[in-house]
Symmetry: C2
Subunit: 294 residues, 2 copies
């Protein structure tokens, strides 16, 4: 089978190209989209993510603020910063990098972000808008990126059976709503750790989304020949042949699965690059809404 | 097969018995649960529903207010009434009977109800709480009643495949979240009008929930022998042999399906009676929360 390797880097670049035009128009009207990225603590992976987000802003001409707070920052101090950013007219999007240190109540922090600036799409107001198919809300970036990939590659969803492995608030559940909604019209199954005969269920999928965080879980026996496979997993596995001592793999056993499917996202280079592109898209959307621009 | 006929009337009575005890305890502590039911216009079916709800309150000793407003009531007048009820300490639950007349923006009305008094579970705050599995929210009454029936009849959900036909905000979507959540752990598929081979999909279900409003859609070929079938449909079909000229049927062809399944809810007498019982349960829950009673 001639498998299509879904190119997330190229698709993200196309998204950024469209955003550049939108940002240029906003600037001509006197508006500059702004994103505040807040990091509490020293988690090295979080630092990498935060820096990537700030860099993505710079490349597009989005104004950004990076707040690196010490691990011992109190809940109260963090909430005060959120309040300040909520009221800062230069800032249209706010995100607090997950996970925060254990003494921080992450749900309370998300709840404090003005839903109109919640570009991660984690605030309950935006959760409800997604479920209710209200397009004014913000959709979490990773599932939004998956939908964009399907669109870019002309992959029909209507009437297709989509199986999502994972029921998280960040990927599984929003992905289910995006796919079952009236714009996509897929028949959607959400599977998880308690699903019996996961392989057999997954083999019924026309579109399989793996978002469970288990390296190589999805082997060939999980995949119907000709299915489309989106691999959302980003897992570090030890690899002494690499300078860093590890490599990044997805939830899909790519070598086994790629030959039998119609299209697949590689890891890295598939869904990953889309996530930050969608964050930029949400920031531009927030700016347009705040400035009353169509 | 010895099919279990799931008795919604009896189960609703058991729910009411438990509520009577809870209400008695609240009264001894000086609290009386209160529900306000608002009806705009003359829809005869709505009048029947509203009267049933008020009657259910009376039977349990729940304080109730029935507001029957003329069809020509303006959006503004309705919102002002909601505001008044939001601030009325005797009222713990508010519901506006659906559907309102066409000039009323129902979403805006629901949004105006204090989420702590939204005993229908339609407010975005409660939608999000259900998705996020936050037990402080209110769950829509019909899917909540379905879950109660499964519990009452000892029907295991963990690892089972549940197929829900219908993706409405009132039944399909909340039912999906209740069944996929960590308390139920079912593998959940949401099917709808665009699903291809609906019969074949439904035949893979251990638990089949029909909530689509199409009389007799689910025939024997939709049902795996031994499955559990919950029929949420309440459809009027013409029947000249009945004094009223119609009879109420579900979405399931009961005569065909009942013999092959393990358990089934009849219509009427299955899911229907549970809906009002769950409304009463939500009203008591709202009262307990408002009064700070465990």
């Amino acid at each position: 089978m001639n498998t299509i390797i879904i190119d997330g880097k190229r698709t993200a670049e196309r998204v950024r190209d469209k955003l550049r035009t939108a940002i240029e128009q906003l600037k001509q009207a006197g508006h500059i989209p702004g994103l505040a990225v807040v990091l509490v603590g020293e988690n090295p992976a979080s630092q990498v993510y935060v820096n990537s987000k700030v860099k993505a802003c710079e490349e597009l001409g989005i104004y950004s603020q990076k707040w690196s707070l010490p691990t011992e920052t109190s809940q109260k101090e963090l909430l005060e910063l959120i309040d300040r950013l909520n009221h800062d007219d230069r800032i249209h999007g706010i995100l607090v990098q997950s996970p925060p240190p254990p003494h921080i109540d992450e749900a309370a922090v998300v709840l404090r972000i003005d839903p109109r600036k919640d570009v991660d799409g984690f605030h309950p107001v935006n959760v409800a808008k997604l479920v209710m198919e209200d397009p004014s809300g913000f959709v979490p970036c990773t599932p939004m990126g998956c939908m964009e990939l399907l669109k870019e590659y002309g992959i029909e969803t209507q009437g297709k059976h989509a199986v999502i492995i994972g029921r998280s608030m960040i990927v599984g559940k929003p992905m289910a709503h995006l796919l079952m909604g009236k714009h996509a019209n897929a028949t959607v199954t959400v599977a998880h750790s308690r699903t019996t005969d996961l392989a057999g269920l997954c083999r019924t999928a026309d579109i399989l989304v793996a978002a469970v965080g288990r390296p190589g879980l999805v082997t060939a026996q999980y995949v119907k020949p000709g299915a489309v496979v989106l691999d959302v997993g980003i897992n570090r596995v030890e690899d002494s042949t690499r300078p860093r001592g590890y490599r990044i793999v997805g939830d899909v056993d790519y070598a086994e699965v790629a030959p039998i499917c119609r299209a697949i996202t590689p890891v890295p280079g598939g869904v990953g690059p889309m996530t930050i592109a969608m964050l930029m898209a949400n920031t531009v959307k927030a700016c347009r809404a705040a400035c009353g621009v169509g």
